[in-house]
Symmetry: D3
Subunit: 168 residues, 6 copies
């Protein structure tokens, strides 16, 4: 990585939106993951508490999908892209971790057919879904923690396939 | 917490924006924190590498402040609020953690004079700043992790002061 | 009404955003209603078809609430307002009408504490929810009709209470 | 239609933005129509009253065109699309209907060259134009009704041509 | 001015949204002006050419009013404000200047009742209206120049009244 | 130019978004320039005053790039486009002009691969950057003037290359 440069800056050191005009149009996909950690009682409220089961996650899912579409307006140097597919999945942990917290795993898959990748769209979708869960449960629990947000994989484009923990 | 209900749902179990019409207008403040973890080489690029020192963080700071202002458009059940102040601070860790990663701590302070609090605005500012750092460094390092995003404190409003780890 | 003027125009006949600087800040509420008409088979799909019951309406509800918050960016002469509450309700008709269509009634209640009313926010919420139902069912049925969108009531402000069909 | 499934849901019954990555890029067009009904006195104000003739419709036209461009931010599961053309037309009814109301017919034509259709963009343009007319006239008449919003036709794409009332 | 500091930066020299939490809520007004210069033939097209008189300006007026409402999303450190009134006026020059260009003067008046002023909203309205005129005429004339955009006056708030060219 | 028509209007004289469905997809580039004029003391504050050198321009640069991406939401008849590159440069004048004012020249280069040009995106980027500089310095100097905003060049598309002051 010693030769790597950050590409988002021009010769005078100022930020720019990187020129991708000459990159080829290919199908691209990115998957990002994250999690929100909370007291077991809070997760119980989401699962079966005083509300219709699943609705917190239904709202978070809509928020995540809409968040993916807003990425280029939220992240300054992101290129606008015509997303061709966005889906979000949740997985609820069975048992508490060492801190006594249970978690909801969030993953987002985003696709496009364009000149640059959708890593930021997937990460933004996960972050938006996590923030929405926080918002809807914060009257009951302000101690929740959002964490472990990372890129799981990307496919398509010149830099090829990336798999987290694998060989680049 | 046994009696707590999630407030974002109506009697039929559907999501709503909670009615705060009768809450009093007070000065409110929230502080949220988060971090982005990366390889020491990546942090070195941000600090003193091939780019003007600080510019990644300058862009992230602008993104975080603008993100705070977009909160009610990103988080479905958030009330629109006239923010009266937003500031963001970064703190760069000196040494790597057990995983060999260094981190940038991000904190956001948001204020308003209104009928409901600004916890989500502070959390959204932190998340947006972290995502922006990821975006600007991802050509060099796709393994970065965004984590530990949480509310540090809130002041003002009927529910009073909250300090993370303290007595509510 | 003979003396009534349209208030959204200045002396030269050009559009403006009406000056409400001197109107008093009061609690205001508006309720709007609308409906979407569809084949009984389409409504059956929403109710109990191949999908989890209620999800189309859950998405429509989130869309309607977010639509209310976007009103001043969608309707050119609308004032920005800090909404203090938004809720949306659906009511599914039991039997088909004369055209053989069943319908979903949509109602939106919006509140604010401000210098002008929230009629447009309520109407926009209803329209957005109806459009979202159309979007989610259009692969099955493109013949759906959105109709009967109207203001049911408004309260608060100098012009006082309006009840549809009642005395102004 | 017995075999039809709603496409906007994944296997676990959650909402998603349908994957259109493999659909071909074709020229697509959709036409939607709608109407706003009002007292003859209100329509007279729009036509020739105290204001420059046509200005209410000029504002509604701009709003409708801008609304079409916002569709993917308003309707949660809509794909972002690069619209290549949007036009809106109004037609004012000559005489009152059975309820004594006159109406303005609104139609919107939207085009794109992309992987999915523009039905929602056309419907959103019509709805936005109608809501804008309501907004600009509501000081004079709160009884207006927005109705009959429907898809008139669509062309292009795998599902082919749709003409309202015709053979699919 | 020797003691003046730029207020938009924190102690570490980073940008922030200035804290106005303790400023009092007062009625505030700002007026900004600007102009767009063009060939006489282009202005003739706007005035009486192949199009309905005034329509370019009608679209520019709507754009300017909507632009004022978007200011806090466009200008990074601007506070969100509930605008209580926006109006825009155009004045067409009778004769060409020394360069042989005629001009359209644009002025925008913006009001709010809040904790900070609306100078940026008025300037953004003027700029947006000018850009819109450019857009609508650029097929005929790409040489147009937008210029002389400045604050004419502001009233209200702690810093009091400012009149361009007068005593501050 | 005698035969030129303004293309943004339909046969009835109403505004429309011009249909570019049949234009070919080519690489397009536009460069726009502008300037902000201010007292030498104000420019000194930006250059070396009480703040970290360059930060006003760093914020303006981010604002300009994000402004370019918002163009189709700000300018009513602009087509949405997937920008493939945006960069902004500043040049600070050495000495005052006849009015005793120094200036910052702003230029923006925008690229896309699409069916219509990016002149408006470049002009909007310049205007947004200039407004942001005004915003960040207005506590010190309200007399600043934004001016000379114009298209410098465009390349690509059926109408070919345009160079300001050159042969069209």
């Amino acid at each position: 990585m010693s030769e790597t440069k950050l590409t988002h800056f021009d010769e005078s050191g100022r930020a720019k939106m990187v020129d991708v005009s000459n990159k080829s149009i290919t199908t691209r996909e990115a998957v990002a993951t994250g999690a929100i950690f909370m007291k077991p009682e809070t997760l119980a409220l989401i699962e079966s508490g005083n509300i219709k089961k699943g609705d917190v996650l239904a709202v978070a899912q809509v928020a995540g999908i809409m968040g993916a579409k807003k990425t280029s307006h939220i992240i300054p140097m992101c290129h606008p892209l015509m997303l061709t597919g966005v889906s979000i999945a949740f997985d609820i942990s069975e048992s508490p971790d060492k801190r006594g917290l249970r978690k909801i795993d969030i993953s987002a898959t985003v696709k496009t057919k364009g000149q640059t990748g959708v890593e930021m769209e997937a990460l933004t979708a996960v972050s938006t879904a996590a923030l929405t869960i926080y918002d809807m449960c914060k009257a009951a629990d302000k101690d929740m923690i959002i964490g472990e947000t990372a890129l799981l994989s990307k496919r398509g484009g010149k830099s090829g396939t990336y798999i987290r923990g694998g060989n680049k």
